[in-house]
């Protein structure tokens, strides 16, 4: 296979498949049951991985946005757009699985007092606006405004998290501290595998979609040439 993009897809695909299979087998069959939370703790592995990878996606969008503004190369705009979309899907997944966990662990579907759940809701709002802006801006502004907004939104993420946390610590002390802080090694391993699997999946999907955009650009160019005759 001579096309480097195709080779990357192959490598990432194999990697994703192996890591996902290992992770699922490991966390269901090998990892011990959590003494405190029981079975539901098994949600944790992929839930937290997806959450972290969605932040990674937004980080990639941030860097790609800065690169686009510097170079004005359309490829970077593609990276921003695809990363934000993937990150948003993963953030939605995070909130849904988080909500399921909340129901299992604390008996309610939604608790605002969990700062992570609240922050991810804000992040979804923040990045949804990206698509509103993008579909509204036209011409060369579209890519530039999108890039600028991807930068602003990524800077907003830690600020929002901090604001949510501060607001809650005043009204009621944080009850649920980070669940993964003190994990025995037998659990940590499977978490790392799950995280690696999701990271590989993110880059795989990114690569596939970049190739779609490449094809689309080539087709657009052909169309222009045909029109010009």
């Amino acid at each position: 296979m001579t096309d480097p993009a195709a080779r990357r897809v192959l490598v990432l695909g194999v990697l994703t498949a192996v890591l996902t299979a290992t992770g699922i087998i490991g966390l269901f069959l090998v990892a011990p049951e959590d003494s405190g939370e029981g079975q539901i703790q098994r949600i944790f592995y992929f839930h937290v991985s997806i959450a972290l990878v969605s932040l990674l996606a937004f980080g990639v969008a941030f860097v790609a946005g800065a690169m686009y503004l510097r170079s004005q190369r359309e490829w970077w705009d593609d990276v921003v757009f695809i990363s934000v979309r993937l990150g948003l899907v993963l953030a939605v997944l995070t909130v849904i699985t988080g909500s399921i966990w909340a129901k299992a662990a604390w008996g309610t579907w939604w608790i605002w007092s969990d700062p992570r759940l609240a922050t991810y809701t804000l992040v979804i709002l923040l990045y949804s606006a990206y698509f509103v802006l993008r579909s509204s801006a036209e011409g060369s502004r579209q890519a530039r405004f999108s890039a600028v907004y991807a930068i602003i939104a990524f800077v907003s993420v830690p600020i929002s998290f901090y604001a949510v946390r501060v607001a809650q610590s005043v009204v009621h002390p944080v009850v649920f501290t980070s669940s993964g802080a003190a994990m025995p090694h037998s659990m940590l391993i499977w978490f790392v595998v799950a995280l690696a699997a999701m990271t590989a999946l993110f880059f795989l999907l990114l690569q596939v979609e970049l190739m779609q955009h490449r094809a689309q650009r080539a087709l657009r160019e052909v169309k222009l040439r045909l029109e010009r005759g």
């Binding site: 036209e138 011409g139 060369s140 657009r220 222009l224």
Partner: protein, 237 residues
Amino acid sequence: MTADDGALVDARGVVRSFGGRRAVDGVDLCVRPGERVAVVGPNGAGKTTLLRILATLLRPEAGTLTIAGAAIPKQSQAAREHIGYLGHDPMVYLDLTAQQNLELFCDLYGVPDAPERIAAALSRVGLVARTHDPVRTFSRGMAQRLGIARLTLHAPRLLLLDEPYTGLDTQGTRILDELLGGLGGREAIVVVTHELDRALELAGEVVVMRRGRVAARVGTAGVGLDRFRTDYQELTA
């Protein structure tokens, strides 16, 4: 690439596209002090886009562009000092008075002796009596004349005019003719127009554009209007 040192405009292979369509597709243009260039062409030929690129309002996508010795877009600020741009609209605030508008632009251009310049500019366009009236109360022709006054405040060396005569009353036309006629060897003019007679009258060189490219360059010395019109129709057909 060696830039033409004295040139006010030095464009080489300038490209700008909108949504995949190349509005300006590799235009070369060199304008030296004292030269007057008219850009003509059918609708959609890229005349206005070219002028807006020269005015630093649009960045060229490819090619190199130097305005008054400053590379665009890196040194746009330096170039802007020398540019005077007049479009279809007077480009003054309707809710400010004539005086306030001109003060604003004097401040933006860092003009040193603002009060004198403003008084002189207003008397040149015959709006002294209207100095303290908001522009909203002006007729269209008067507002357009105020636009001409704004154009002259900072004594630009490169005048970029986009259909400057549309919307002008007879007095405004006379004032603009006087202004352009009074320019010396320091200044250069690039005017976009669809009126061929104006183009011949105003400019020493006419650039005919078609589909974003320069179709022809014609020196106007000794060319009659009828002859030019038939040539033009052939070029743009």
